[in-house]
Amino acid sequence: MTQAHRAPAGGSAIDRARPISFTFDGVAYAGYEGDTLASALLANGVRLVGRSYKYHRPRGIVAAGPEEPNALVGVARGPGRFTPNLRATEVELYDGLAATSQNRWPTLRFDVGAINNVLAPLIGAGFYYKTFMGPDWFGPNWAWKRLYEPFIRRAAGLGTAPREPDPDRYHRTFDHCDVLIVGAGPAGLAAARTAAESGADVVVCDENPAPGGSLRAEPRATIDGQPASQWLAETLDALRAAPNVRLMPRTQAFGYYAQNLVALSERLAEPDLLADPERPRERLWRMRAREVVLATGAIERPLVFADNDRPGIMLAGAARRYLNLHGVKVGERVVIVTAHDEAYRATLDVHEAGVAVELIADLRDEAAGPLPEAARAAGLRVAVKAAIHEVEGRAGITAVRLSAHPGGMRRIACDALLVSGGWTPSVHLFSQSRGRLAFDEAAQVFRPGASVQRERSAGACNATFGLADALAEGDAAGGAAAEAAGFAAPGARAYPVEGAPTAQGGALGAPLHVLGDRRVKAFVDFQNDVCVKDVELAVQEGLRSIEHVKRYTTTGMATDQGKLSNMNALAIAAAIQKKPIPEVGLTTFRPPCTPVTFGAFAGLARDELFDPIRKTPIHDWAAARGAAFEDVSLWKRAWYFPREGESMREAVARECRTTRAAVGLFDASTLGEIEVVGRDAAVFLERMYVNAFARLPVGRCRYGLMLTETGFVMDDGVVARLAADRFHVTATTGAARVLAHMEDYLQTEFADLEVWLTSTTEHWATIAVQGPKARETIAPLVDGVDLAGDAFPHMSVRDASVCGVPARLMRVSFTGELGYEINVGSAYGLDVWKAVFAEVEKHGGCAYGTEATHVLRAEKGYVIVGQETDGTVTPSDLGLDWAIGKAKADFVGKRSLMLPELAREGRKQLVGLMTEDPTFVLEEGAQVTASAAPLVGSPALGHVTSSYRSPALGRSIALALIAGGRARMGARVHVSTPDGAVPATVARPCFYDSEGARLHV
């Protein structure tokens, strides 16, 4: 198709020497470099670009910037590189671009979903809350979950998310600057020039591909006696030449956070990315600025009237931008309807480009001032007191019926209707910075009030609309920001401006003939299909707060975040409630103010960089032996070692039996280790653990139980005394928390103690050898220690040499068998492991994993903190009172144990459970009750904490926390299962070798 709507000349952004071909919905079109997808589609006469969210109405391009609500497209660049919901107004054209329209089926022109437009009376605001209530034939909310919700989701909505992983790269960067200027329009550039001259480190970001803002599309004005385009080029040259200025195009500031942290998202131009896909597609900047200048401009508002969403109805300022930036005439015969002088400027431009201007219909009572006068002087017809009554043409406007003075009611054939309701300052970032907005009665806008953070607004975002005023305000803001950042700013610079009289006017809300007419579809929010009648319905149904109106009607949501709709919706809600606008208030501006891709937020934090994997030195050996692994926090732990044809159940049973009968080898390197050193080390440990350590002899170990100050069990482990002033402390796999807890007390409450804490978790590889043959297994490898039972008894530690490597050898057990833990430096871990494993095999032993460990320790009733405990369990609840050093005056948690709640009778206590059916394995977490069918609402006695098949007992075993459990020994209880309760007997929480004969050999 030829570019029939392209003017023969003009268009500051495009390069007519560089034609580009692209496709939209599979149809090939031509454009120029510098086009956006929107401008190229308009140049080719494409008006229908999308279907609306709810009613599937045909929609065209309304705006020329990120506020565009209708022209949402998907752009595909290969597998995983599909991006939905892009605004066509922001998609830069490149050769081969393939874009598709959204929310239509089967085609954009013939869309089955358009039936919703006829069904509209049934699907007003909040219809889904009211309509889809039942029936609940198959359980609560059955119909909603299975029928309505999936259907609505398919019929309504935006683009489809891609299914493949995103192959592009993204980055995140921290940065600092003295002055950050957001927006490179006239105010922002004037600010940048002044701040740059002060010597401050200046960053200027702008979301557009090229800086300049309104100046890029301004053929009429002169600044300093030269055309605006010339002034823009020279200013940019000066800024680019300054070493202390960074100009960041394609970079949108989307969030303003505490202490002047502004989040920027910078995107690479698509051709650059295609040329080198390794470059980051987007970069998230966390820019900490001493001072910020907000120069974010203003957004034109549409007018609210019946069928105001027909393709061909466009904002006047957008039409001006398409003409002056891209040389695109949005129509050949146009009608302008406006409440603001700015539309006259657009009209003069399109008139001079040869477009037939049928009428300028002004909603106001009179159209005075320099711009309307200029229009009249150019021979254009101007009428006032206008009201639009009807729009003809479904897929594209063909005529408008309106009344205006002079002339009254008339029908005018046209192919474009340019509208302007005035301009809304973009105060998103100011509002996010916690600044309070003030309502300007005269201008009928919300403008920035007092600043909270170190920022100031300049130009149209501050409701300073004239070019001359915006330049002056930008200049002053740049100087003020530089001075506040500690630089000497140059004096104010004068920017004499000609040919750009300040525009005035504006209208908010809907005219009276639209309000109250429920048959009329007059759209307030194009993107979410919210009509005037929906806002009226919401208020009528009692939703008075604008925040509630927003959520009920969905106005102001989705990609445009209410950029076009908020003020009109607010004015309508205010008019219906007969309240002034400031009393109705504004909805909260939240980041991001325009969409940011998930990739930019994730940056490099994907896969293992998001969730790092911790591996022990023995990991690769275990993997080579075919171990199955389980994730324990970030660790990969060997779960079990299945042999050929073995199921998990069989492998675990074999590992347990072998360990109890001969010897087993276990990788305990993930165990947390903390070295506690110093004159007061023993005193410190006495305060941090419930146990007594002062008289623990050197060379001996003791079980340590750690509480929080609230008296609940936090951690346990083994404390080994290596010297009078040195302890080797083990903690569970969450050892970082234990170390932080110790550091907290050491640094604050017990700061007088002379103690140093060092995490040695990564330092040690810990190899556990457990089983009746453990001693003879390690004996050939150990030097310097007498392993005999009385010389090296249970709970002892020795410095030793294992395989010639310095080691800390401990005799400890988490299985109930004779056991040793060999601690060697991690670098030696694998070699020592291999040597020990060779000995283990000689004795008929095997390696075992975490699952077998859990079974073996449960047979002995050893608790796992975090499995038997949940932060509400005391030592007494676990039957661990014996560990408490009764003579100690104080330890962390001691006082809390005396609180009535922690000392009361009937608390949940750890017990064993034996199911009456010995083959039945209970579910961990299952509720324990006194009767098989307890009354609904009656409390459970407790719950199952651990449950396994025990090879040693040849039956199932379980541990449970049960109210008053130790007084219920032998009692029958019932445990819930998905198929009803099963009976079980309460038993002691130790099922094997309860006298500990196997430990002390």
Binding site: D744, Q747, T748, A751, L899
Partner: protein, 98 residues
């Protein structure tokens, strides 16, 4: 993201280097056994949660590892002071904007 001055390192660092550690100046009673149940539970569970200037503890966990105290205005998130544990809570000079 806050920018937090560490009084031990003498530099401002972004919040991700730190971990919040609750209200400051909540001293553990010297002899807990001498404290009533009411006073002890008050110590354990009750915090002031003010709207305005709040003394809170932070730990420079990815830096020097030290705990220290910060005065922060919970409304503006402005940090007014940063000081070592054991030091008294500083007075905010009149005229300092919080």
């Amino acid at each position: 993201m806050l920018l937090i001055p560490c009084p031990f390192c003498g530099v401002e660092r972004p919040e991700i280097e730190f971990r919040h550690a609750g209200e400051a100046h909540v001293a553990r009673p010297h002899d807990p056994s001498a404290v009533s149940d009411e006073a002890w539970t008050e110590y354990l569970y009750f915090r002031s949660n003010p709207k305005g200037v709040f003394a809170e503890r932070w730990r420079h966990v990815s830096g020097c590892g030290r705990f220290f105290n910060v005065l922060r205005d919970t409304v503006s998130d402005r940090i007014l002071a940063s000081y070592k544990p054991g030091a008294p809570r500083p007075e905010i000079p009149a005229g300092v904007r919080s």
